[in-house]
Symmetry: C2
Subunit: 230 residues, 2 copies
DNA sequence: CACCCCATTATGTCTAGACATAATATCGAA
DNA sequence: TTCGATATTATGTCTAGACATAATGGGGTG
């Protein structure tokens, strides 16, 4: 038995056994001591391999009890949320942002309605409207936003460069375009659209809230995934 | 300086520095040797901590060059794709599956069109149709599916218990309900619906393909996420 | 000046052994 | 029989030191 990268060998052997069904959910994996003997390596090495399999959601480890093949192969998908400009340019089209309305709302003195910037605009791919955007930026968190001309600069791209977020929540649903929205997107009223609503935070404090509306035929959200987010 | 869980301390200290912006993307992190001295622990311990930060997408490590704060805080979301039955019951409604059509297609001898089971049906939450499903199951991969009565048993739930998948691909888009679909879902034709198309594989071999159609007002896909998929 | 080779450096991986910790199994007492 | 203390066991974490490996920066050569 060659001793190249024992950790990887253990990991990929077990992974193969699990994926192929030779090891089934709930099955017990030999204890680390035995695996170490079997592969001729130290227990720490086995432990590292098992640790990575745990992170990948393939196995579950319990003190004293041992390690087991994880139960329901986790149903979580890693969804990539790309920058719109990048996405459109990747398609070979020219990206353009058209700011329609930029207003400052709220008041620093009023705790109930802190000062925010409200921006509405349209993302274009070539000559076609690609998405309608309605965004609110918390000025208390991003004061420099007040000095930017969001009629010309897309707020998403700017914000990202300025102050990347650390937490977010997305809601995705299908809605019919209202007449004003339909006009902006150059589609018929009632056209099925994908609505993406995103709240982002940094260190627990809200930065921005955005609602994007994509005509159904112009956008697919794709989520790819195996078990490991690696 | 207390020496409790040095690995975690290093990890959370760096994480705090990065999230707060004290360390900015591209910044260099002290070399492992120095961190080890600073925290009074072994280099292996520092290495483990940095390894986990790498997995979480917070830092990037390069041989000889050193470790750096990762560039664009990764925009990947962990999206949970729950079992429909579970989801509806979690809402306090009664789940019911109504199989509408179950047919066997294809031929074992024909390589171009292997034998498959095609199932159409509707998921109900209480008395309301919740989703329309159109599914194809590869009989060569799941032969026992031929013996199940999918008019009564929901195929998704059954398949999951039978043969969990290891890879999948989702496409999400908005479409208007066609008239037959609208009838089945008891909504007006053209109503905006969320279309979820999922292909699943096990060890690289296709198991099932499913298309689910949700009336826009009855379903929200929600993706929650910080940076770490942990 | 351009190019290739090599020493240096920081990460990557591993070992053997130690102690900590949590969960289970066992045994004794009420 | 049931409950609670205790021993056992397998994972969790750490250390100090070793060697491997890849990338960089420099130096020498054409």
């Amino acid at each position: 038995m060659k001793r190249v990268n024992p950790a990887r060998r253990i990991q990929s052997d077990l992974e193969a056994d699990i994926r192929s069904g030779r090891l089934r959910p709930g099955d017990r994996i030999p204890i680390e001591q035995d695996l170490a003997g079997q592969y001729g390596c130290a227990r720490a090495t086995v432990s590292k391999a098992l640790g990575e399999l745990t992170a990948a959601g393939l196995i579950e480890r319990r003190r004293k009890a041992g390690s087991f093949v994880a139960h329901p192969p986790v149903h979580s998908a890693v969804m990539t949320v790309p920058d719109l400009a990048e996405l459109i340019e990747a398609r070979g089209e020219t990206y353009r942002w058209e700011g329609r309305s930029v207003r400052t709302l709220g008041d620093a003195k009023d705790r109930e309605s802190p000062p925010v910037l409200r921006i509405e605009g349209v993302h274009f791919g070539g000559d076609d409207p690609f998405a309608l955007e309605d965004r609110i930026i918390e000025l208390s968190e991003v004061p420099s936003a007040a000095d930017v001309d969001f009629k010309r600069q897309a707020p998403g791209t700017w914000l990202l460069a300025q102050l990347p977020w650390t937490e977010a929540r997305h809601a995705i649903r299908a809605v019919g375009a209202k007449s004003a929205e339909a006009r902006a997107l150059q589609v018929a009223a009632g056209t099925a659209c994908l609505e993406l609503e995103r709240d982002t935070w940094r260190s627990g404090r809200s930065i921005t809230h955005v609602r994007q509306l994509f005509p159904g035929d112009r956008f697919d959200l794709v989520a790819e995934f195996g078990n490991s987010p690696a």
